[in-house]
């Protein structure tokens, strides 16, 4: 190991600085929103709240967390995320399995059909009309069904399957296992890292999806959290204030309440993330060498 030269030092320091700046760039806005959520309204309005709260209070948070509409939205979001992710993982994992067996007849044609949907799709209006014909407007399935198989995610899982040694399956077959047993008892347990990663991808997708609910959901009782958030945050946007009558202006929610809503909405993801993060890092590597 050679001694660090001046050049090495400056390089290292430079890297640390850049990383520090990136870190701060994401952390500071979050700290700002958090402080606004737990500061006095008057301090928020007069712009005194920076990264530290001024006049600490938790009433705003309590108000937001106990509001019916918020709890309802978070419930809807959780439902979509849990059910959607479970189904999506199941379907993606089992459709990737046969596709990883290149010796099967016709498998490449089926593969092309999958890839085709990745490149071309109907677009928004046809999708909307499809949902309407399926009677799924104002129905939570409209948010889950179309996203159950993401071809990209399926390819990641497929390439992981392909990297598993063939001998495992052969020995299982010798012991009399059928295809389903092999998949569920041998392959899937070995694929936990990739499954966890993809599950996280799906979960983040379902949790963050704002666009589809905006299209398909009109009933306020079925709005997921992101849509609720968007509406609340937009409420005080001055560009939307142009269309507001005096009555609406009197009803605009306070800045502190909006900040508290944002904070409250990230809590569930914050709770899940640390447990999945280690898989996430591994999984990203796996994706990168899939070649």
């Amino acid at each position: 190991m050679h001694k660090k030269t001046l050049g090495d030092w400056t390089f290292d320091i430079g890297i640390y600085l850049v990383l520090l700046l990136c870190g701060l760039a994401t952390l500071l806005p979050l700290a700002n929103i958090l402080s606004k959520a737990i500061s006095e309204e008057s301090a928020v309005i007069s712009g005194k709240v920076g990264i530290f709260p001024v006049g600490f209070q938790l009433d705003t948070m309590k108000y937001v967390v106990s509001s019916n509409q918020f709890l309802h939205s978070i419930g809807i979001s959780l439902l979509i995320t849990v059910v959607g992710t479970l189904l999506a993982i199941l379907l993606t994992a089992i459709s990737a399995y046969p596709l990883s067996k290149r010796h099967l007849p016709g498998i490449s044609i089926i593969m092309v059909m999958f890839i085709f949907t990745m490149m071309f799709n109907g677009g928004i209006i046809p999708n909307y009309l499809l949902m309407k014909k399926l009677h799924l407007i104002n129905n939570l399935w409209s948010l889950m069904l179309p996203a159950l198989i993401s071809v990209f995610n399926m390819l990641v899982i497929k390439s992981y399957y392909e990297s598993l040694p063939e001998a495992l399956e052969e020995s299982a077959k010798m012991d009399g296992a059928r295809n389903f047993t092999i998949l569920f008892r041998i392959i899937l347990p070995l694929s936990v890292p990739v499954i966890a990663t993809i599950a996280l991808f799906y979960a983040v997708y379902f949790w963050n999806d704002y666009f589809h609910p905006m299209l398909y959901i009109n009933d306020a009782g079925l709005k997921p959290l992101q849509l609720y958030l968007r509406d609340i945050v937009m409420d005080a946007d001055s560009s939307s204030a142009v269309n507001k009558s005096a009555d609406d202006l009197m009803n605009v929610s306070a800045e502190g309440i909006r900040a508290a809503t944002v904070i409250a909405s990230i809590i569930p993801m914050l709770l899940v993330y640390p447990y999945l993060q280690k898989h996430f890092v591994k999984g990203v590597l796996i994706g990168s060498v899939k070649g």
Binding site: I45, G47, K133, L215, A220, D231, N243, S245, A246, E255
Partner: protein, 518 residues
């Protein structure tokens, strides 16, 4: 963001092609499904309320709480006998969503949108393409209350090509924004609230020189937000209260008004002397409010709806602070005025895709029944409000909880009585009431200048050009005030304004104005 752009394009495409879609959209029931817990509850509720009256579907403007669980909805169901499923448009780009819903023929029985220029344009567009139900015959048959309650002038203004397709909810005509001043600063410098432009300059000078707030070099005599370089109240003193003003019998946009130059000269002079916030162009609404409520600024331009919040914050920061609105300022030749809203707050229409247009009209008619209307708007006497000497005062907090968002349930108002009921809404907070009252009843009546274009029918060129031209004028005015453009550049800009649609708008607006004045 990319997706959003795509979405807008598609929405435009949708609106172009929707006539054909409306025609071929199926009439099958797409009502709420029963696979989810929430709609299951709704379905059972509907089953118990089964009667001869069908369940109606109404699309509403966004509000914070779910319409379906809001107390007003329950009251209306019981009072009108109609069970209604309320959906709402999103807060973000509601126009796009509305286009999709209309294009795909969602069977709404009533659609209520804002009554602003852009939504009026959509309404006219739908009506012309045949997507809306002609309400005239229905109202004749089932809508006696509608006819009695809504001002004929409003109904006339809502017509498209001679036919009525929408029920207008008229805006109450109020002045909203004016200049709010630190009374304690005034007392300290020993002056009275300004009533003319010269007095305003003098007061601002005193604020700057004597620094009554003790802010040193952070002292700001007057702050405004960046998108308001044409400052209400000051602009009124030059006869520029509204976007378009009557100049010798012709409606003229501000920038073509001969007084525009005088206005800019006055304000840029304030700026040069350091009396107007140096950073005003970069101020967001919240930044300006921060400066005022933290005690750095002596004056601010705000809406009376903001007064309680701003005041609370200000007094928290500076316990001795006192603030109030200044009177409406008088200009050199006696010009004076605050812009007052006029026109439609909301419009409600029935799309052709509706399955129960007759019931929808009966429902709206029932909502305008005198007692029902009052209870919908402000609640029950001695429960939600008290009535004394003709003034309605709300009982808190139940009024806030159960009637704060009642305005979103209105579909047409009883135009003679509603302004009186409405006052209950500002009496929620005496500071709110005082601010509103000062501007709207204590000031002489001639200081409120209603927007002359409020009752204009849908004007194609005007609607198309309104926003872009407005942005152009705001940018240019800001540059003039900053001195980044010379005053001699005004004529060149006026030429640019005219060629960018200003001329077309001018002709269209004045063609209408000539007929309206008769």
């Amino acid at each position: 963001m990319l997706k959003n752009k795509k979405f807008m394009l598609v929405a435009v495409a949708a609106s172009l092609s929707f006539t054909s879609l409306v025609a071929c959209s199926s009439k099958t029931n797409t009502g709420s499904s029963t696979t989810t817990p929430a709609s299951k509850a709704a379905a059972t509720a509907a089953a118990t309320a089964a009667g001869p009256k069908p369940e109606l579907k109404s699309l509403q403007i966004w509000q914070k709480d779910d319409y379906n669980t809001y107390p007003v909805a329950k009251y209306l169901e019981q009072a009108t006998g109609y069970k209604v499923q309320y959906d709402m448009l999103p807060q973000d780009k509601p126009q796009d969503k509305l286009n999709i819903l209309i294009a795909s023929g969602e069977p709404y029985d009533a659609i209520t949108t804002a009554g602003s220029t852009d939504f009026k344009a959509l309404y006219a567009d739908y009506a012309k393409k045949g997507a809306l139900t002609d309400l005239g015959p229905l109202i004749d048959k089932y809508g006696p209350n509608i006819k009695a309650a809504i001002a004929p002038s409003a109904l006339e203004a809502a017509k498209i090509e001679g036919k009525l397709y929408a029920i207008p909810t008229t805006s109450l005509s109020f002045a909203g924004e004016s200049l709010y001043i630190r009374q304690d600063w005034l007392d300290k410098v020993g002056m009275k609230a300004p009533t003319t432009l010269d007095e305003l300059t003098a007061v601002l000078k005193a604020f700057k020189e004597k620094d009554p707030g003790g802010n040193g070099d952070k002292n700001i005599p007057l702050t405004v937000k960046g998108d308001a370089p044409i400052i209400p109240n000051i602009a009124g003193a030059f006869g520029l209260a509204n976007f378009w003003n009557d100049v010798n019998g012709k409606l003229t946009p501000r920038v073509l008004d001969p007084a525009y130059k005088d206005y800019v000269t006055y304000v840029s002079d304030l700026f040069k002397q350091g009396l107007l916030d140096k950073e005003f162009a970069a101020n967001k609404d919240a930044t300006a409010k921060e400066k005022f409520s933290s005690g750095k600024a002596g004056m601010i331009m705000i809406h009376w709806a903001d007064v309680p919040t701003i005041n609370d914050a200000l007094i928290k920061n500076i316990p001795t602070a006192k603030a109030t609105y200044i009177p409406t300022l008088k200009g050199k030749d006696g010009k004076i005025g605050l812009s007052a809203t006029q026109g439609f707050d909301r419009i409600t229409y029935i799309p052709k895709a509706s399955k129960h247009p007759e019931d929808a009209i009966k429902w709206m008619n029932a909502k305008l029944e005198k007692d029902t209307f009052r209870t919908m708007a402000i609640g029950e006497e001695n429960k939600h409000y008290t009535l004394k000497d003709g003034a309605y005062t709300p009982i808190l907090p139940i009024f806030t909880d159960e009637r704060n968002q009642a305005n979103n349930f209105l579909m047409g108002t009883d135009d003679k009585i509603y302004p009186t009921y409405w006052q209950a809404r500002v009496r929620k907070d005496m500071r709110l009431f005082d601010a509103w009252n000062f501007m709207n009843t204590l000031q002489p009546a001639n200081t409120k200048i209603p927007d002359p274009l409020g009752y204009a029918p849908y004007l194609t060129e005007f609607s198309k050009n309104f926003q872009p031209l407005n942005t152009m004028v705001n940018d240019f005015t800001t540059k003039l005030i900053f001195g980044a453009e010379p005053m001699t550049g005004i004529e060149a800009f006026q030429a640019k304004f005219k060629s960018s649609g200003g001329d077309a708008s001018y002709k269209e607006v004045n063609d209408w104005y000539a007929t309206a004045k008769k």
